[in-house]
Every structure is written in structure tokens, then in C-alpha cells.
Subunit: 440 residues, 2 copies
């Protein structure tokens, strides 16, 4: 992508309304723009990151055996009356009347709808286990939306729903998602700690929140330092291996970890002082096993191997992509801007032409740009006539992992500079070596 | 994907509520499910097709130089009061009050919001031309939604918006989209004919609808038979070549084509009788040049090279992916089911195990499944214990382009049958040859 043809509305000043660093940086880099209170557009730079986050989520959901579908945003109120949540949900639910005066709502979550789909299409235990997910917009009319897309009213959620014949089956489904979540967050450069959580309006009695430690987190969290050293499940994890996944679950729940709602001071104090970690955290995922709460109320049952009808056991599993993006920034930035982990960076590399219009600089830049694009890299080429200093500042601000800097003096020697955004290390090398470094 | 672990709720009976073939087939194959009147879930099989349609749309938008972003679904009423469309839009607009009693709406289109984004971030002609697009849900509260996702209330739209300094620039932007649309539809196996169209509530004086001929189309259309032979612009079309794109536009608008609203009987009758085509059509895209209608009302201007302020010229360009999927089915099916063009097929190939549990059959199927998956193909493996006849019927119904049929008698000779869904041709060959045929 040539910057001269791109849309990258960088702000020169720090936006005053932003209280936390991710919100400030997302506005400054032109990743997002507020359209109404708690409602945002994802501008092109932000959209690229969001797409990469969603791709990782999808890959890990698919790997675990979950199957993607897409449910609509608007739901009929009737479904929610059936489950009993229509009246219980409160003012966070955006209630709507259509032109026929039928009561509708903008879905804050999809337990009712997926249960309705299940009961009308699945009849036999042979179709189980089943886990269906979608990545779809939700709306929750928060009284005080804040921190940009960290707590917005219209937001994207990946929500998965599992169906099993038995409680044991449902626990294995829970462990599949537990494992997939550990991998998902790790691939984004995050260490998320699963913590026993309150189930809130979703219901049920087994639930974990996945929390990233960050000073700006909304929740107070307490855990054992051991979490930092636990291994992330490997790419070739066998999701059918009931015992294997149980072992992963057991390890990751073997030491103390709790949010303030579930905090047990005595248990925490029993941990040797040097191993206690008390910090603030950001919730990036939440999983629930809630048994037959919805399937019972809505009649979701299958014929079992015994020929009898069985109410199915369900769980639901959420990740907020539009919240993950700022969470990654909270975990990875410095005073010059964002430092993207390679897996979610909007571009893999930025080629900086220090003197656009100079024949040798232009030629080298075009060559690098073409070679890296051909190799399948996402390349941003700063071909504008801005001053070199401004180009460096922009490249640092938007946090692309690698910068290739092409200036008239070094290119006369056939050389360019390669800068690593994270370490700040700069190396001088030939054009060919620079291309190989990025492709490496 | 193993069918035994997939979610494919095939209906045995033809659904009574479906009036047209695409609606019937999308329900029967379990591609979609109605959740409320005119509001659908895309079940896994449908979601796969929708994703492929969206990918083609994105590739062609990107090729033309348009840049993707993502605007939200809910908009504030204020923006629409500024443009004057809030009162004009009528009952199709879903109006909503949030918990603070602020008037909102579920966006039926995004001219106002994109103009607001533009005016607050673009200040100079140097940032032009600019074309921003998104693929986002829209809601239009139709009084009579029908034909499944062909005319639904909640639907997906790709809408692009162009900004130019001059009318001439805007015409080139229009020709870029015109060309991209011809390529987009052709890649989905469709011949779409651009027809001069009424601009309706969008406004402006230059507009084309892209119409596919189909007996079930809602519009009556009249055109010259020459359209059938016009060349589709090549993949390496230079979108910066103003004259080249003008030539494409001129050819594709050189002979008569009009919907009934714009029909000129005298002009049509002037065409020799054998070259007249009078038919029914489905609108799959609509493009508009509307000059300064929104930029003037909302103050979207840039500083020109003359140092003065200029109101920008705009266009908007829509494609409906959730309507394209049924349109493709209308254009490509037979009495046994859907016949997907390869580019949008949910799976590239289905491997049918005629006798699951038979050692030789299982072994050959696993080998084919693994080899094709490794080669990056989307493979559905029917490993269920259904009868062979039912497996054949399902494979034909869901319309996967190639079927590889593995039966105990032929596999004893080391052979399988390969069936082409479209022609019905069956060839017997070795396992290796079958794999090569699909990878070919």
C-alpha cells in the first residue's frame, strides 16, 4: 500500500477525551473514530488489525472443532420471553419496535437464538457434540461507555455455544474452549490468566474469565506468579483427547487466581509472599458451563442411545475482538507509540523513502516494495513528500514491526537501514539483505 | 471437514413458504434459517458461500484502489437531519431510542456517516481521489420482505463512497467501480448487465444498476443481445488509465439496456427484432454519481491547488452479498439442486464413502481427504453411515463442483469414480488420478 494513496488520518495532538493509552493511541493513529457515544468506526488501519485478530480467533475455534455460522443482530423479543431473560436483562438491552409494532431487540448475546436453531434442527445424540460460533456485532446500552472500544456500546463478539448429551461431555467441550482460548491469546502476544468467575446474567456454576494484566485494567485481580511460566498448549494439541485437555485445564486452574468478586483473602494469604501477584487486569474472554438452563426452558432435547429424550447440556464462550485490540496496545507500547506483535500488525513492514523524488531512493524503494509484496507481505510504502523526521515519527507511532529506511547517502553505497520497532535496533545492510531479513 | 462432525441440517421436504427456487434450495440445504420476518441466520454451509462471495468483492474493490473500513450499524439521527433525509426516508428506516432517549437509527446506507468522517479528517486535494468502502449489515424495514435473503430486512451490503475534487475526477472514480463490478460478477459466474437507472432516494443524475437475467427477477428489463458477447475487463486492467476505463464504460453503455422505469419503447423498437432481449432480472449492484448533494449539505470540502475551498464530488456504489448468493443459485441449478460455480462453492470437492466401515473404502477416503486438504482444498468428507443413495442425493443437492465416489467394488481395483456436478459426467480412475484431477 502506497501511503500517498492510503487513508491514514494521524492526529498531531493527543486527544483530550482519552483517559487510557490504548484509547489515545487508537485515536491518534486514526485506527478508530467515535460516531456516537460508545459507537465507533474502524478506520482502515484499525480494520486491518481487527481482521488479523479475528483470523486468529477463527483459526483456533476451527482447530478445536467449533463450526462457524452467522446469526443476525436483531432478535425477536418472544425468544427472550421464553427463556425468561426479556424482563430480567434490564436497560442494557436495546429494545426496538419495528414498523408492524413488533417488539424486537439488538442482541446483547445469543443463547436464546442458538438454542432455538438447535431445537429445530438437531434431533439425535449422533449429532453431538456440537459447538457453533459466530463473530457478530452486539449492542449493550451501557450507562457509561468509556475507554474507546474497550467498553463500547456496539461491539464485536465471538460467541460459541456447545451442546452435549451429558455433563461429562459438556466438561470436555468446556476444556476444548479453555485450551483454544489459551492458544488464541498467546498468538496475539498476550498472556491471559484464567480466573474463576461469577456467572452473572448468563447463569450456571462453572465459569472462567481470561484476564490480561495491565495497569489500566478495570478489575482488581489476585493470582500466583506461577502462571507466567505455564506452557501454552501446542498447535498439534489433540482436541479429542479427553484426558489430555483435562490435564491442561487442571494445570491452569491448579494455583490461585481470582477477580475481586471471587477473591478469597485467606487462600491468597496462604501463598508465600514473593509468589503473590496482586494487580489490575482486562477481561478479554469469558467462558460458561450452564448446564440445562436454556435447553430446559426452551425445550432443546435429543434422542439418546437409550431411545429416550434428553435435555442437552450447554456452555457459551465469548471473546471480544474490539476489546482485544486496545488490550494488546495496553500490553505493548512505549512513549513513541504502539508496538504491534507481528501476528496482528496492520502491516508487516514499512518502507520509508527519506527523499521521495530522488531517483536512486525511488528506484530502491519500488524494488523493495515490489519484492516484499510479491512475497505476500503486507507492505506500507511511505512515498509521500513529508519530511524524514515526520515519517520516522509516524512509523514509530503506528508500530509496524520492521522499518526499512532508504536515504540518498546510504543508497549511493547500495545500502539501507533496517530498524526493529520493538528494540529500536538499527542495522545497515544491502537492499537484498533487507528483503531477506523481512522474508526470513 | 468430516460430515459426521459437521452441522448440515438438510430438509427432506420442500419448504412450503418458499416461492422461488433459490429460497427453496437455501432452506433445503440448510444454508439459512429464518429467525424473524425478513431476518435470517446464515448456517455453516451458507456462511461458507457468503465468505467466498465477500472475498471476491473485497479483492476487486482493493484492486480498483478502494480502501476498506468498518462503520457501525447504529447511527445518530442528527447526521440524517443534517442531510435532510431523516424525515424523507420514511418507514423503511428503523428508528430507535437509546436509554438516554436519544434518537438513533439502524443504518439503511452510509452516505451521511462517511461524509462526516471525510469532512472531519480530509483537508487537502492532495488526499484525493479517495474511495472508502465497507461490508456491513444494513436494515431496511420493508413492508413485505420475501424470497429469503433476496429481499430481507437485515442484510449485508458492500457500500463504497468516492470523493473527488472535480466532476471529471468523479467520473473516473465512477468508471473504476463500473469496471470493478463487471469483474466482480463475472468471477462469480454471472453476466451482469449495467442499465441506466433511476437514482431514487440516493439522488444525483448518473446511475447504473447491474442486472442478472433470471426468470424470477423482480424487474422487467430490456436490452440488446450484444451484451452477451462483450469482454470482461482483464485482471491486469490499469485502474489509473482514465482513457482505458472510459473505453470500457463506453462499450458497455453503447447499446440499449434499461429497466422498466427508464424504458424508452421507441429506442428499443429501433433495435432489429432478433437482437432485442426482453426479460426479467435481479439487481445485484447499483452505482451512483450524485455530485455535491451530501458534501454541500454537510460541508465536506478540501483546499484545492488554487488555495481555495472546493466542495467535493461524491459517488456511492453498492453490492448486496446476501442477495448475490440466491442470485447465483437462480442462475445455476437443476432439478437435483444447486450447481455452484467453483469460485463460490462452499467446498471444492466432496469425497463420498459408499461403505463407511469397510476397511479399503475408509483407507482410500482418508488418503484422498488428507491429500486434498494438504493441497489447500476445501474438502467435505461424507464419512456417515447413511445409505449411498442418500449420500449421492445430498452431494447433488448442495452442489459441490466435484464428487469423488469411493465404493468397495471399484476400490478393490484401486479405482474411484469422479463425477462433475454440472455436466453429470462420471469417470473412473485411480486414486492418484482423482487427486490430480481436483488439484489440477
Amino acid at each position: 500500500m502506497r501511503l500517498s494513496r492510503y487513508y491514514l488520518p494521524i492526529l498531531k495532538e493527543n486527544p483530550k477525551e482519552a483517559e487510557i493509552v490504548s484509547h489515545r493511541l487508537m485515536l491518534r493513529t486514526g485506527m478508530i473514530r467515535q460516531q456516537s457515544q460508545g459507537i465507533y468506526s474502524w478506520l482502515p488501519l484499525g480494520k486491518r488489525v481487527l481482521d488479523k485478530v479475528n483470523r486468529i480467533i477463527r483459526e483456533e475455534q476451527d482447530r478445536s472443532g467449533a463450526i462457524e455460522l452467522l446469526m443476525p443482530t436483531l432478535q425477536s423479543a418472544e425468544l427472550w420471553q421464553e427463556s425468561g431473560r426479556y424482563d430480567a436483562y434490564g436497560k442494557e438491552m436495546l429494545r426496538i419496535k419495528d414498523r408492524q409494532d413488533r417488539p424486537m431487540l439488538y442482541g446483547p448475546t445469543n443463547e436464546e437464538m442458538i438454542t432455538d436453531i438447535f431445537r429445530s434442527t438437531v434431533k439425535s445424540y449422533k449429532s453431538l457434540p456440537l459447538n457453533l460460533y459466530h463473530i457478530q456485532l452486539k449492542f449493550r446500552d451501557e450507562i457509561r461507555p468509556r475507554f474507546g472500544t474497550m467498553r463500547s456500546r456496539e461491539f464485536l463478539m465471538k460467541d460459541a455455544y456447545s451442546f452435549d448429551l451429558t455433563r461429562e461431555g459438556a466438561e470436555h467441550s468446556y476444556n476444548k474452549m479453555f485450551t483454544a482460548y489459551l492458544r488464541t491469546f498467546a498468538r496475539m502476544g498476550l498472556r491471559a490468566i484464567p480466573m474463576r468467575a461469577d456467572t452473572g446474567p448468563i447463569g450456571g456454576n462453572l465459569s472462567h474469565e481470561f484476564i490480561i494484566l495491565a495497569d489500566t485494567g478495570e478489575s482488581e485481580v489476585f493470582c500466583h506468579r506461577d502462571f507466567v511460566n505455564f506452557d501454552i498448549p501446542a498447535e498439534d494439541t489433540d482436541f479429542d483427547d479427553v484426558g489430555g485437555l483435562k490435564k491442561i485445564f487442571d494445570q491452569w486452574t491448579s494455583v490461585y487466581a481470582a477477580t475481586s468478586e471471587m477473591h478469597d483473602e485467606a487462600a491468597f494469604d496462604a501463598i508465600p509472599e514473593g509468589e503473590r501477584l496482586s494487580a489490575r487486569g482486562i477481561e478479554v474472554g469469558h467462558i460458561f458451563y450452564f448446564g440445562t438452563k436454556y435447553s430446559e426452558a426452551m425445550g432443546a432435547k435429543v434422542q439418546g442411545p437409550d431411545g429416550k429424550e434428553h435435555i442437552v447440556h450447554m456452555g457459551s464462550y465469548g471473546i471480544g475482538p474490539t476489546r482485544l485490540v486496545p488490550a494488546i496496545i495496553e500490553a505493548s507500547h512505549d512513549e513513541n507509540g504502539i508496538i504491534w506483535p507481528a501476528s496482528v500488525a496492520p502491516f508487516d513492514v514499512v518502507v520509508i523513502n527519506m527523499k521521495a523524488g530522488d531517483e536512486a531512493c525511488d528506484k530502491a524503494c519500488e524494488e523493495i516494495y515490489a519484492a516484499l509484496t510479491r512475497a505476500g507481505k503486507d507492505v506500507l510504502y511511505d512515498d509521500t513528500d513529508d519530511r524524514a523526521g515526520q515519517k520516522f515519527a509516524t512509523a514509530d507511532l503506528i508500530g509496524v514491526p520492521t522499518q526499512i529506511i532508504v536515504g540518498p547517502r546510504s543508497i549511493a553505497q547500495g545500502e539501507v537501514e533496517v530498524k526493529d520497532r520493538k528494540t529500536g535496533a538499527r542495522d545497515t545492510m544491502t537492499v537484498e539483505a533487507a528483503i531477506n531479513r523481512v522474508n526470513g
